[in-house]
Amino acid sequence: MNERKKENGKAEEARARAGLYRLVAHMVAQEPDEAFLRELNATGFRETVASLGLSPPPAPTSTEADVTREELAVEYARLFLLPGAPLHPYESVQRGEGQLWGEATAGVQEAYREAGFELNPEVHHVPDHLAVELEFMAHLATKEAERLAAGSTEEAEALQKRQKSFLRNHLGTWAVAFAHTLKAETSQRYFQFLADLLETVIKSDAYFLDAPL
């Protein structure tokens, strides 16, 4: 009984971690819309964030931010999409290969393959886009939770090992520095929040998984 409870607790932990990775992946992948800004604020998430000492996300109708959805989209494009953008969200570029689809990307794709994932052919994303790497971690953590709930401890352990290794070899090698750059580059609250959240998630998870960066 105790054993079972422990497993359930672990599953919950994995789901919590998956939730965070999914959230950051979402924020990196696309420009925020009203609905998402409401989610950030309406679910108690905002309070939790504040209670942990992180600066809270901007409210959707916040007058202090006074930033329209279009301005957020423009900032998103400037930061992540345009040529000369300060933050090309690709591991190969951030790790100094100077090109998309570099050696690092090949390694990332190999990690997906080994874990039984493939790129969604409808999306055509480059494998080492930050959002895809974050989503990969979310998938692994979700799977881990499922295996734990099903009582497959060994499989769950293997999945956690995979997360640890991916964090150490790929995501963790660049995401924190990326977050710092993002923080320095943007003056919009939303993206500053993203920077803080990204840094917090990566650093905390590295600690959680005992995978020093």
Binding site: E12, E13, A16, R17, L20, R22, L23, H26, A29, D33, R38, E39, L40, T43, G44, F45, V49, L52, E70, A73, V74, A77, R78, L81, L82, P83, G84, P86, Y90, Q94, G96, E97, G98, Q99, L100, W101, T105, A106, Q109, Y112, R113, G116, F117, E118, N120, P121, V123, H124, H125, V132, E135, F136, H139, T181, E185, E199, T200, K203, S204, Y207
Partner: protein
Amino acid sequence: MRLSRRDFLRLGMATAGMAAVPVNPAFLLAADSPAPVTGVSSHTGRKLQAVPSACWQCVCRSSIVGFVENGRLVKVDGNPNSQRTRGRICAKGQAAPNFLYDPDRILYPMRRVGPRGSGKWKRISWDEALDEIAGRLKKLRDEGHPERFMFHYGRMKASSSKIIKSYFLPAYGTKTIGNHTAICEGGKWTAQELTWGKHYDVNDVERSKYIVVMGSNPLEAHTSHEVIAQRIVEARANGAGMVTFDVRLSNTAAVSDKWYPVRPGTDGAVALAMAHVVMANELYDKKFINKWTNVTVQELKDHLARYTPEWAEGISGVPASEIRAVARAYATKKPSTIISYRGVVAHYNGVENERIIQMLEAIAGNIDVPGGRTRAVGPKWKNSYKKPKGKVKKLKILDGKEIAYPTHHVSHQVFKMIKDGSNGRPEVYMWYCYQPVYVNGEVQENIDVLKDEKLIPFTMAVDVAMSESSALADIILPDATYLERWDWEDMVSYDKTPEYYIRQPLVKPLGEARDFKDVCVDLAQRIGPDVAKWLPFKSAKEFVKDACEHTKAVKAAGGFRYMVKHGAYVDHKAKHPYRSHAKKLKPKDLQGTIVDKKTGVVWKGKPGQDYTTTKKAYKKYVGQMIDGVAYKGFKPDKLNKNGLFEIKSEFLAKKGFPAMPSWMPIPEHEKMKEDELILTTFKVNVQIHSRSSNSKWLTEIYHTNPAWINPETAARLGIKNKDRIKVKSHIGEITTKAYVTPRVHPKVIAISMHCGRWEYGRYGSGKKVFPTVKDDEPWWTDFGVHPNWIIPNAPDPIGGQQRWMDTVVSVTKE
């Protein structure tokens, strides 16, 4: 901030209630089973897949093979199945992965926010982009003004040209279609149309014994660059002589027997003097002149009498004795040929210069003979789809003003015409694989016009990178690179044998980039069924497949499957003969034809119709009567010309130009002051005109372009090597660095293209990219200076060719 385990999990659990979070669609899917590892590569343990395709770096469009490892392009090489290229490609082709994986590529449709050119953008979906574009186009069409949609392309060939220019645009109804030929070599083609009809000369150098290069640099850049370059090298190895007339010691000149620095724009004078020597010394091909040209030996002798080598020396600076020696060698070491290009034609007298060279090749007996100046042979692809029928309309802004025969349009005058406005203006201006701001002269005016929302209400770019022009678009559609798309290809071969080849995607398009051909199909559907019905194919792939199954030779070889596997098919059975003009027509060829009394042209006109004055009669040309026999002759194009090799041109006489090829001085060169110089531009071997500076490898090799200046000139102007100098023309001034070298004519300052960019990503523009990560930033800091700021957009009066090499400048030390 790092949180404790407990806090971290608290934060995570707080995400549980978020409904809008999942990334949709997901980037990653669970695979049914892990893909098997099949590989043996020592590097990564995976197999490389070899995919034949076609290059797109320059117009040569070599057949290539891409090596792909698990969806990643790792290398590009030549396709050994290509007879044309013999499996070779140049440095630009090898740099292919750089273009595909340029970190600054545009991967999503973008819409500007704020004033045009302000640099603010947001991403939009394809649906949003296409709905808006289709909406605007439909409105114009419904109002009866499809011509107010102007489509302007730079490089668009083969099936890309077919789908876009022969299906989509006519189905829509606009003929306001701009090209770029006038900034390339349009004058050369006009000269050919005035002499031997349909353009495209192939110098059969592989078989030549003596090669004269005039204003051309085939070992570094040419319309068939590495196809002709390797054949020149072979000819040289087999003992062929080669001399080069150029204002600059190019690498082609460097491997010639002799380099003759010629005063800019005077190649025509040298060629006239060579013709004089050939005629005066009875070295001409009497049979060809008598039978195939429209002049007599005596007329030629009389006309050329004044153009002595001594006269040409005075004009060109090339010693008379050397002109004599070259002329003799050219006329006696047969077969021989003259390679001419932009150095000859990008002048006020460009069409005339090329016409003189055509005459010289004709009297020397080099026309379409082995080793001579031959007619191009390319493959003839066939698709099964019906061509759109219906009215098309055009704004008369494509041909500039008062050009005698703008047979390839006058693209560099388009913005001036739009500014002028008297022939109307486009409401929607879209460009494709074209960089109007950067590649034309008068850059500032280009920017001013394109930026002006009153002059052009809506602008759209189809581009792979943020160029100086895309930066002035209202919407940018991210195009697939040539490594991600389908085409059938058709560049001319150098051995009279048509080569069919295809381009297929080496990898899937990155991000949301899409082949614009597929986008056209989509747009047609959004505009409406009466446009969509003319594009019955679903995609470019289907179009290519259809051509493979409907082109007889390709189908016989194995159709689409064969082409996908091998990439190229050489149709040996269709080898064309040399001297095809001398082919006698058979009775079946003559069925349904009439003979035009005045010209002797055999054509498919209606009885009683006059060939010369019937609109587009040349399209119905069948052959030419000579001494009562019907021959294939020289097929005309663009003009209702006869099927002879016309040395004497009534077309030109009618417009007030000399009928016989004659020396035309360049007005501003006649008025030059002693200290003034002539600005010349050129290409280098590792960069493409305007589309390669985002290549990490190529730009690392070539990224700056100091101005070449002769030591004698430099000394007179007090300029030392590496000094900063000002170069000033009547439209503006640039500051650059001097490269003092004897490799350039003393009256010339030479500045290459490709550099001085202010857009085109980090490698092209040197725009700082934050953060500084290892090896990511270019190590070089000098990105050169673009010469086009000070070169006016000025047309040759006959063909409208941009006069790149005519600008008079003053040069001073800064």
